[in-house]
Symmetry: C3
Subunit: 427 residues, 3 copies
């Protein structure tokens, strides 16, 4: 069933992949439209260019229609129609003819990855440029090159998507991802797609203790803009959150903590990954690189961590055309989904419990001491006894699960059983 | 002298070994009578069957007179008169004749330890059964078997022993052991025998800072029953305690902490064992298995740890007829006695001290700086200087001993000397 | 430049080396005169013999004019004029003729270091003695020996030097060294010489946040005497301090913490050495051996640690004639100087800072995001971003530097730049 989910998510990635997205513009909006089809609760907001957001200003809207270079032999190279990465993000429009020598400073390639088109942007200073494989760059002959970029940089809006799935309380869990990357898969279509599917799963639950807020923003400026509008409410309500980035390959699970590193989001993630993927990659906040930079900044200090598959900047295909839908797989996406799902389940299940008896209860007379035949049943009784031994109102279930070395999702049924028999109560 | 003590304890074990004990009944009482001969301060209490003790009920009293199986060839096997372990504890009475096939579900043996009779009980559900070596079981021939168990399960009492050795304060140290195991030596005659001898030693001391309470109960139900009657006083008075179990073989020293793991009992035991038996086995509270399960349960929370030789469930002879008085030795018992004795000495010595001078005192003018000739005297001066350096009223002697890496029993004479010279005072 | 400083310090050591110093007396004073020539702010104090200092009494003043042994063949050996170490410190005067046998108890040599003259003193009990190499001792022939020590032990004074270099506050950093060792270089001319040069450097600074107090005392009794006169002021004002001892060889850097181990002096020293000398020797307070014994004693409790080159009692030449000015080098002294200088710079720079923006500031618009070309500039931006991420008013710069893994001296310029742009403010 999870792999089926993985295939659905992979299909959605495939649909979104060809669209040319950036911080702003039509590509971001049409991508949002597709996500809203899957998750109607997702509403799209628009913030005008020039709006102040803390120390930042919402930039001009960028839209691009076509871009290519005509080589001296008349052939077209670096054609946007061939690959969105061929044009530097936020390139200004240009129509010109130049020598190869004059063109070179506008070209970007990776000598060490000669088959990869790099992903380059220049959001906050005016430039134009083309990206291409180093192999192709080395075939360029001297002569006159005609460059064409039909783009506009004009006052418009910055868009972001937001879905609130209400639970029993106003306290909420934040799931934040970003949609500004064109034609790359792990970083970054996996994030918004897994986020959308997590929201659908959350909607399907019979009850939710917490409310859930899914944000799909352009990276950095989008998070800053959202925070500048909602900081007080977020500081009041957010009990945990995750940045959803790099959720789709199969090579690793990774964890990046919040700034202080001991929030509920951190503890749940470490607990889940220690059981789900014992050799997971554990990074430092010093390795950060996405919107936790804003969510965890001094004075903002939201409890936001990151649970990932292969982390940005730590896999060779990162920020190149090689980060594609072969690298990201249905199983990879399903794994990313499950990891965050388990974290959410841990957060939902995490409550402080009290035993109702002094000394151990006599489980036998309640039929809770099964005839110990299999190893599994032995473990269940052991987990039950250990759970009872630590539920003294001083630590929550997540901490008890850590103490007794069992995943919290194994303890859920045990807690229910003990509550039914009146042996455990919520503190 | 300690080995002489070990021989006395071993002789007492030998006297108690043949008696058929269980949670309740005549065997428990006659064993108590022998211990009371050694320790007249030990009084025996009786609690009627059916009495409620927290979530539990005091069970019926079990007494057994004879039990055996007559084989098809007329020979007697599994005769209680041969070995107490041949009959399942709390077996109901039975007189019957059955085929081997029908007998088999009532037989217990250990294929992996073919020479051992296992120890099996069924305290809280009605059954009957016989235990035998797997070797013997494999020789049984088809045919009619006559089984005979002359036992009674009737309203009676649960007994336990209690001795209070008063000290200078009402604050007390608890020593708790259990006597319900028939014909096994490490687990469990070593515990009540070492406990009895510790009480005798405590009585012989010229002064005791703390009071000492020795409890000898049937395991689990006895501890729960005692706690249900004395919880408030115990919570008020007990500053440290030890469960005395598995005190008699020579293969290991073991430590099992209290639930929270940092009580005075834990700190004293870790300190003592780190010096007395540096490679000692350090277990987790998750490995618990005796009455610390009750003493440390939520809401009870007494500061009770366990100092053992080879820990229950961790040595091959455990709960079989192989746990005998060859396994338990005078030297083993002496070692178990000494380990707990050292813990008690540490608890008695543990006080917060203050230096009386600012800067180092001039030890030379008091003759406290010996002519440094031997390594030992060098160590003593070093210990004296280090002791003075840390006695600032902020930590107690046990913590200072840990800081300076010396066993607390080496510091006792140094503290006395420095107090005599007015260089140290109790805080 | 630092090596030039090293050469100046080495020259000063050479000038001081031949003087016969002890706890008290003319040698101590003439050595102080030389240091006062280099540091006129250094004033010399005198405390009369017999003065009470906490548990101690200022001893008689010792002065020695000549000492030697005349061998049976008329040759002079153990002549004070040849080496100051030939005479036991605080030897009482003697004129006598003895057999070799009677002389032997008064001779000190090191069989395991046959070429070294040991350093022996007997401050607090009356003795006389001579020290010599074991090689020489073995050549002594039977016969009559004439011993001559022209020394005096009379009421006089104990001297110490003190320089206060005022900063912006009364809070002060203590630098303490000792000058009582005759003709040894690492332990101990390096300490007072490096201390003198640190004071000169501190005087040359345009501003000092803290005041600095340099003490040059006779070891133990000098520190105790000073403390007995100034304890209240020191407890009020001293924020950090270092004992300057063993500052001059090239083989190691060493750290010995204060008693509690977490003062500002400790944290600054560990931070500095972890970057300056990553494999530095980290000792325990149990390994102490100089005036931190007094400064850190209970009730005194000043935040005083030790930053050293090869630590006393841990190098083979220690307390022998082999601890000379070949062992101590200009580079060794320069390294010792730099280590403490860095600690002082860290203490001066350590303040709590606050970011002024919510979320990351937009560094690009201020030109603070350099065109990332070299590895170094990459590191600077990274350090800047990490610094901003942790300056939330909860931890001081030293703790932030530890968190982000950069030496605090690299962060100084970054802090200045960010303060100029109004992005950081003192908390």
């Amino acid at each position: 069933m999870n792999l089926e989910l993985g295939q659905q998510m992979h299909a959605l990635c495939r649909e979104l992949f060809p669209i040319c997205r950036s911080l702003t513009g039509a590509g971001f909006r049409s991508s949002m439209d597709i996500l809203r089809r899957e998750l109607p609760a997702l509403t799209m907001h628009a913030v005008p260019s020039g709006t102040q957001a803390f120390d930042w200003t919402v930039p001009l809207e960028w839209n691009i229609r076509s871009a290519w270079i005509e080589a001296p032999d008349g052939s077209r190279i670096c054609d946007l129609a061939q690959h969105n990465l061929h044009v530097m993000g936020y390139s200004e429009p240009v129509e010109a003819e130049l020598s190869l020598e004059d063109l070179q400073p506008h070209l970007y390639s990776l000598p060490e990855q000669p088959d990869a088109i790099p992903y380059i942007t220049s959001y906050y200073s005016r430039r134009w440029g083309f990206c291409l494989t180093h192999k192709q760059r080395q075939t360029l002959q001297p002569g006159r090159y005609r460059v064409h970029i039909d783009a506009s940089l004009e006052p418009g809006v910055l868009n972001y998507g937001e879905a609130l799935i209400r639970g029993e309380t106003e306290q909420e869990v934040l799931l934040s991802s970003y949609l500004c990357h064109p034609s790359m898969a792990n970083n970054e279509l996996s994030g918004p797609v897994v986020g959308t599917y997590l929201a659908r799963w959350l909607q399907s639950l019979p009850r939710r203790r917490y409310s859930y807020r899914l944000l799909i923003v352009p990276e950095t400026i989008g998070a800053i803009t959202y925070l500048s509008r909602h900081l007080d409410a977020m500081k009041k309500n957010v009990v945990a959150g995750y940045v959803l980035s790099c959720m789709g390959d199969e090579r690793a699970y990774s964890f990046l903590p919040s700034r202080r590193g001991t929030t509920l989001a951190d503890r749940a993630a470490r607990h889940v990954l220690s059981h789900l993927a014992p050799g997971y990659g554990s990074y430092s906040f010093l390795d950060r690189g996405s919107d936790e930079r804003q969510y965890c900044s001094p004075g903002v200090d939201l409890p936001v961590a990151s649970v990932m598959r292969s982390k940005y900047a730590c896999y060779p295909e990162y920020h190149t055309s090689l980060d594609d839908l072969e690298l990201v797989t249905p199983a990879g996406l399903a794994g990313g989904f499950t990891a965050v799902q388990r974290c959410i389940e841990a957060i939902e299940a995490d409550e402080t419990l009290n035993c109702t008896t002094l000394c151990e209860p006599q489980l036998g007379k309640r039929g809770l001491y099964p005839s110990i035949s299999t190893k599994e049943s032995g473990k269940q009784v052991e987990a039950m006894m250990n759970l009872l031994a630590y539920c003294d109102g001083s630590e929550s279930l997540l901490e008890v699960a850590e103490r007794i070395g069992r995943p919290i999702w194994e303890l859920g049924p045990v807690v229910s059983q003990l509550k039914q028999h009146g042996l455990l109560v919520s503190a």
